[in-house]
Symmetry: C2
Subunit: 311 residues, 2 copies
């Protein structure tokens, strides 16, 4: 089985209260792929420029990621993002967004990428997401990200795309903005009515919630006394979540499977933020993931002890 | 066994996007007492004026709350708070705070109130909290609330009080402001070093987290598609949490008990916000609480299914 992800491969410049990097490997498809690589074969689809070289490919190959669908644009420069986190990482300011080769990106998937079992559409223009979704008709589960920019500027396209997938992974503000609902539970209910199997709400340092046809599930973020760089946490979450689903080939995709997938997404996101960029996840081990998911299980469990209440 | 709570009994005027009330029963001790009354005998301690009459007492008596320590100040007026919630309840603006009889409040506890098993110090001036804590030497568990105002204006008093209790119940911003730590896990670690048994972090619509000597536990808020009035949610949470602990007379107060108590706190807070002021909790039933805690258990459970990860 295999996972295809379409999205950005990038260089990031990031400054946080705890340090900075001038140029490091980043991008939604990169973070997603590294996280998902622990569960299944992953093919990222996206454009890079001449500056994307053997060192960057080596990070991906080091995790067994298949890079055949990374499109090298001769003479081009790779997507570049620069940002700074302030106020204890609670505020993120974008300092530069150079689309470069991403500006004219038209996803062309190889037959192998089209033949994926599970597809993730990272945050790109919704018409491109729709086009890719149509190229992967065989996929048994399709999830997508988006952002406030597309909700405001391409709502119709975005709604068409959402209606063609199984799951959206957004934050609470995006869910409310998208639906006009006053809170996340109402927003999720509205979106399930659009035909989605699942709505995942990312709540940053507070954790994440799942709304499916069969109920609600929520899990806290793993508690870390030191967060170094939140960049890519959402995509690592998506990689763990979607990757876990892809690996469960013998089980129908229902609420219980999705809940377990949330735990793996949460674990991968927590490792992502422990160091800059891809540094931590690139050298992560399976045992560390398994241990962290067990920790999360313990940290969310309580007994239903019998109790007689007073009237 | 019994619970004593010291704090405000009040009249509130509240406006939310979903309606308004010009004058309704409120106050931290009121919300706490109603929630805790499902678990144990509760004695609220606080001053009221001539305007606090049989109708208000009836709400408390209706839940078996012992009102002997509510101090009637002849010629006085009851504490009054007016506020408005905007932006889908995410922003709260205080329109009026008339301390009235609360201005010169000096807590005088009856022998029965002093003899409590468990004590909750709601959000009042920290020297008063300290004084009450000293009056209840026999209490086997003491928890307290506070707020940014006291952190800024009475830090030394507040720290002395915190060092004399077992548990603080604050929100994430307050915990970080109090300790200067960059995030909640670090703040909690610092506070456990002050000698606390437990640090509870209230995260509003995202839920709540517990940090104890023995670990971390977190639980989401119960998902509600309609929230009418958040006023008193934190005190209802504290009432459910502290009340549950008080009722477990045969069990040492350890991490597992505290985690279960978090679920009851979460359940009570969720009922509180379903209607204005005390309206929902005043007519709540034991079965509704038990059912909601079982729901929360289901909504936070996932299996640790065996899984072989890829390298």
């Amino acid at each position: 089985m295999s996972v295809t992800v379409v999205g950005s491969l990038a260089f990031d410049a990031v400054k946080t209260p705890f340090g900075s990097r001038d140029r490091m490997l980043g991008g939604a498809a990169t973070h997603f792929s590294l996280a998902a690589s622990f569960f299944d074969e992953v093919r990222p689809v996206g454009p890079v420029g001449d500056d994307f070289g053997p060192a960057e490919l080596e990070v991906l190959h080091g995790r067994g990621i298949i890079t055949d669908d990374i499109e090298h644009v001769p003479g081009g420069k790779t997507f570049f993002w620069a940002g700074e986190y302030t106020h204890n990482l609670n505020v993120r300011e974008t300092l530069a967004t150079d689309l470069n080769v991403f500006e004219n990106f038209q996803p062309k998937l190889s037959p192998a990428a089209q033949d994926c079992d599970v597809l993730f559409l990272a945050n790109i223009q919704p018409d491109l997401q729709f086009d890719v979704r149509r190229q992967c008709e065989r996929a048994r589960f399709v999830a997508m990200d988006s952002m406030n920019y597309w909700i405001e500027s391409a709502r119709e396209s975005l709604e068409r795309t959402i209606r063609a997938v199984d799951c959206v992974i957004l934050n609470d503000e995006e869910l409310e903005q998208l639906t006009g609902a006053p809170n996340t539970p109402s927003a999720a209910k509205e979106l399930l009515g659009w035909g989605l199997k699942a709505v995942v709400c990312k709540n940053g340092k507070y954790g994440a919630a799942l709304y499916s046809e069969d109920g609600f599930f929520a899990i806290p973020a793993y508690p870390l006394a030191e967060v170094i760089d939140p960049t890519g946490a959402g995509d690592s979450f998506a990689g763990g979540f979607v990757g876990y689903i892809a690996a469960q080939v013998d089980e129908p995709i229902g609420h219980d499977l999705l809940a377990r997938a949330m735990a793996y997404g949460t674990a991968l996101a927590s490792f992502n933020v422990e160091e800059f960029g891809t540094e931590r996840v690139a050298r992560l081990t399976s045992d560390e993931i398994t241990e962290r998911v067990a920790d999360l299980h313990r940290m969310t469990s309580f007994d239903l002890a019998p109790l007689t209440l007073r009237g």
